[in-house]
Symmetry: C2
Subunit: 339 residues, 2 copies
DNA sequence: AGACTCAATGAAAGCGCTTTCATGAAATGG
DNA sequence: CCATTTCATGAAAGCGCTTTCATTGAGTCT
């Protein structure tokens, strides 16, 4: 005794309303083409039956799916949370559904997810950052699927992106660090391989240090995946160096918070004994003691704009327009002035 | 000059391999039914053309979509991040794709998302907590879509759920609080309306206090949406009471961290002047100073088990089996002992 | 009043796949 | 050596929708 009451179809609605399936379809998709009276009858039939259009069928005959896909490196830490939340809210208000998947920072998986989203008919796709294998971009172009990059912006790159200049932002932060008298800098960077955001942030620091005439060979740089505990461990290694840095610049807030935690455990005072900086400006940075000096990125604004732009690309067929958003250096108590 | 190279279809593959479409379909879905030699030819045709099955078409003719949907209240704060990440990783390794949407704690939106997931052919759906309008459950049952609840467990509820007992966990935490000599308790609860997790946590506290013979009318309780700043504001209001509580128990870590932040801003020492507790055991709780006393929930384990169970339900057609996971009271420096 | 436009609707052809059902060939058995 | 299974494959019927094309009955114009 299976209680499968069959799922109502468009034909059922047509019968119930006494019209043709074509009319029901039109009532749902282009109500303007249908007379007021039929419209009314169709609507009530829909309600009575609890009809929901079958997405697969719709996808097959129509071109659009009103679906946008996004692939983010991770959901686990909060880096992308605010931005994606805003992205999805804006999409929702534009009538689109967001499909999210995460790649665990693995290019293989990301490529696979792109295919999955394509086969699911995503009208457009949001990706994080520039770097990925060329074949992924080729696939997207061959399939004619609009895509937009976020969380990064590089003036010299033609790909449509909405974000901030990771290199320049970190360069500026480093500016401030130097202006405050720090010369003995150490870095805890995120994994740079296959991650242009991480490598550009690192580059921002090294470039600025070079300008300052600091020998890069003397700058300790540890690369590690974004994770609190990794940040903590890297920090500890740096503190065990014979020549202790006066400041540890971290690739993001997660690493920085890890560093702060370990500092506390080791009895090292921030910023008296050592200064620490982060990047991203997520909540984590605000709640630690002392508050973290970081680069604040307009996550929500970026999410909203990305939604607007991607939808515009999808609906107009236009090529994407890049936008650079400002980032802001937030100086808090985690950094000491040596001058 | 549109460069729409048509997307290759199964028929194209069939032609290229010199077999019938049926054989291609079988090669892809039940390779066992196809001879080694044809299988080889089909595979190479697939690779040559870069063929990806059309999800909509597949969905229309087959019953399964290998898709699981999840609706979480929010992506913005980290409460669900770890669990969902684990959920998705496990699903991925089981060959399923996860579609996530968030409801902003709005039952209307959640109901809408359930329909959206259903029309997209989700084979199963994960929902957070028990409470939602009956019609949502009816819809799911009518459509015969397996669903599983997470982040909650109540022995007296027949709905399949994998999670922890919010009431009992908070009851235990309250036990500890009382054992440490606190009698003047205040509460900052999450919004309880339409949220059984929040209301059960609150209930855990009030029940325990009642057992202790404490007059509930004298216990200040502030309800507010989960948000750091809300926690901070609520804390400030509590601190302005003529009869200051010795401890503020918060509905989750986010509220608690907000409280700690405001305490610091107000120059109130935690735990010397006032104790604070949270719930969830997310990263946030570990990085604040002092560390937060909280209830640690096995988020990742819950995510993995939910994935396993939901897939089991989908594949076997069985009814879901509930599982209660243990939670753990983590006592840290944010609480002072008065005895 | 006849020719014409327009609005509202229906008939029917797919969209790309899966899955019976049928068929023929090869293997097995007595 | 013929009857019977078994295996590999193909033909064709949908799955539920959208959309062109055709049809009808009004209104509009001269």
């Amino acid at each position: 005794m299976t209680s499968h009451q069959a799922v109502p179809t468009l034909d059922d609605v047509a019968k119930a309303a006494g019209v043709s399936p074509a009319t029901v379809s039109r009532s749902l998709n282009s109500p303007g083409l249908v007379s007021k009276s039929t419209l009314k009858r169709v609507k009530s039939a829909v309600d009575a039956l609890g009809y929901t259009p079958h997405f697969g069928a719709r996808f097959m005959s129509a071109k659009r799916t009103m679906t946008i896909g996004a692939i983010i490196p991770t959901m686990e830490n909060a880096i992308f949370a605010k931005g994606i939340q805003a992205f999805q809210e804006r999409l929702h208000s534009l009538g689109y559904t967001l499909l999210i998947s995460s790649s665990s920072y693995d290019p293989e998986i990301e490529a696979e997810q792109v295919r999955a989203l394509a086969s699911r008919g995503a009208d457009g796709i949001l990706l994080i950052g520039y770097w990925r294998e060329e074949r992924v971009y080729e696939f997207l172009k061959q399939r004619n699927i609009p895509f937009l990059l976020a969380w990064a912006f590089a003036a010299n790159n033609a790909l449509p992106a909405i974000g901030f200049d990771n290199r320049a932002s970190m360069y500026q932060l480093c500016d401030r660090v130097l202006a405050m008298g720090h010369r003995n800098v150490a870095v805890i960077s995120g994994t740079t391989e296959g991650n242009d955001r991480a490598s550009n942030r690192l580059k921002g620091i090294t470039e600025r240090l070079k300008v300052e005439g600091i020998d890069l060979a003397s700058v300790p740089i540890i690369e590690t995946p974004y994770d609190i505990d990794n940040g903590a461990d890297a920090f500890e290694r740096l503190m065990r160096l014979s020549d202790r840095p006066s400041i540890v610049m971290c690739g993001n807030d997660v690493l920085a918070v890890g560093a702060m935690q370990r500092a506390q455990e080791m009895g090292i005072k921030v910023p008296d004994d050592v200064s620490i900086t982060g990047f991203d400006g997520i909540e984590l940075a605000r709640v630690v003691t002392p508050k973290l000096t970081t680069v604040r990125v307009p996550h929500s604004e970026m999410g909203r704009r990305a939604a607007d732009e991607l939808v515009r690309m999808v609906e107009s067929g236009d090529v994407g327009r890049s936008q650079e958003l400002p980032s802001e250096i937030v100086v808090e108590k985690s950094i000491a002035s040596l001058v």
